[in-house]
């Protein structure tokens, strides 16, 4: 659906996007991650034809984004950052305008309008002026605007920016539902959102792609992933030496809690499982054990790992 090859964008001397390449196939929900100023919005603007690339090329649905910009734009529904809307229009009027601009004929438009209002939960505010709507509703109007012409590809720039947790949840489930028959590229820096909704992640930083994979693979390949936390009661030094002696264990750290319990953090080599061996040791030595868990890494750790600047 999207093929990006060596896409670059310079603003004067500043390079915002520096030769990025990635692919999105049909039906995927792809999270586009990066810290502030990483070049997310610039990339999306280039894909939607609002800004021209300085060099490189990209194709959407087989059309070149620069030479066949109009064909590309027919295939996408784009929700820009901060959701700019004509605030002195009414919701239905606005969506009707945007739908007809995308080439929907009157009968199609009527059908799509009712459906889109329904999907986005806007039916009861359809007669309201956009300027009287809250941020959450405006965000939904922006989403409805991107959806009205049933595009193959949805490009959403920070769709949940500035919403309260309930609204984020609502938008997230909306995106998940849409993902069933649309390809979605969404940029965000809320990682939990990506973990829950996306089946592929592209992380960029300083204009370069740092990683592109499924969230699960990214987490698995992280070196911090191998970390086990054990809560035991017993003589501290003996426990530490015993645990350190286990194969694959690289380091043991102890943190006393209460009533003689201590939490040991056991660092192990990646892609190994030492939990059974640890529980066997505890059993043999008759140390009471109340918790043994492998801390799986989170996408947040992957993100920090890839984009930190120290």
């Amino acid at each position: 659906m999207i093929e990006v090859a060596n896409l670059s964008k310079n603003y004067g001397r500043h390079t915002a996007v520096d030769g990025i390449s990635f692919e999105v196939s049909k039906g995927e929900i792809v999270g586009f991650l990066g810290p502030n100023g990483a070049g997310k919005t610039t990339t999306l603007r280039m894909l939607t034809g609002f800004l021209p690339p300085t060099s490189g090329a990209a194709r959407i649905a087989g059309h070149d984004i620069f030479r066949e910009s109009l064909d590309v734009r027919r295939h996408i529904g784009y929700m820009p950052e901060n959701v700019p809307l004509y605030t002195d229009m009414r919701v239905r009027e606005y969506l009707r305008f945007r739908g007809s601009l995308r080439g929907l004929k009157a009968s199609q438009l009527r059908k799509r309008l009712g459906k889109t209002l329904d999907i986005c939960g806007l039916t009861h505010v359809r007669r309201k002026m956009i300027k009287t709507l809250s941020k959450g509703y405006r965000q939904r109007v922006g989403l409805a605007d991107a959806l009205i012409h049933e595009p193959d590809l949805l490009i959403l720039d920070e769709p949940t920016n500035g919403l309260d947790p309930n609204q984020i949840r609502a938008i997230r489930s909306l995106i998940q539902n849409l993902g069933e028959n649309h390809t979605i590229l969404l940029s965000t820096h809320i990682l939990s959102e990506v973990e829950m909704t996306c089946n592929k992640v592209v992380i960029i930083d300083e204009g370069k792609v740092k990683a592109a994979d499924t969230p699960q693979n990214l987490v698995n390949s992280m070196r911090r992933a191998g970390r086990i936390s054990v809560e035991l009661q017993g003589p501290r030094e003996e426990i530490e030496t015993k645990l350190s002696a286990v194969d694959d264990v690289t380091k043991v750290a102890c943190q006393p809690i209460q009533d003689g319990w201590s939490r040991y953090t056991v660092f192990v080599a990646p892609n190994t499982d030492t939990r059974l061996r640890i529980s066997a040791i505890a059993h043999n030595m008759q140390w009471p054990l109340r918790s043994l868990a492998r801390r799986s890494g989170t996408l947040e750790e992957v993100f920090v790992e890839l984009t930190r600047r120290d």
């Binding site: 609002f50 021209p52 027919r74 996408i76 820009p80 901060n82 700019p84 809307l85 002195d88 601009l101």
Partner: protein
Amino acid sequence: MRTFRILFFKELKGYFLTPFGWLIMAFAAMMQGLSLSTTLKEYSESAMPENLVFATFQSPIFWFYYLFLFPVLTMRLFSEENRSGTLEGLLTAPVKTWQVVLSKYFAAYLTFILLWIPALIHFRLFTMLNDIPPPFNNGELYGALTIVILMGSLFTAMGCLASCMTSSQIIAGIVCVGILFVHFLLGLIPYFFGDQIAAAPLFHFISSQEHLRSFSRGLVDTRPFVYYLTASGFFIFLTYHLLDYRRWKP
């Protein structure tokens, strides 16, 4: 063409489904009435050598409100979209840049043309309510309205360009007034420097004041048509490229 029509009506609605267009219309009607009534007062006090239309459009109040209409009509066209970011949504929809530019230009221009309906009614009323023969004839009236509307095509295009330059409505308005004022002053140059200077014919050619004088005497000349239509085309062309600039700038 369909896209152009959709955009055009959207812009037109922006003028007439909000109080904005009606306020300008009320302002224009009031100023047109004021210049007519002050001229009529002069007529009642002394004998006037010129026809009523000529005298009305020569009253000093005319240029004051006339040049004021364009920044008000055009300043928000592009700058507001730029400021609020709706330009991004507009230009990522499958529309061509020229459709956006022309739809905005023609919506503003049509609104401007409609502002002259009150002036037409004022002069018609004058003949309807009096049994004395009107102190002007139809040629003079329609000649004056023609040139006023013709000048409007260029001045609206100048306003569009000014609005496209910035994301602030106020600055767009000020720039528009600036351009219009320079154009107005260029037309006055033969007045101040006489016809001896080599470029005098050029300044006569672009002098809106002279065009207005001859047209409101009923002398319809084709040269101003060429001048205003080509010059508006040029300013629309500049606006188009300024808007499209982000697409090819390095």
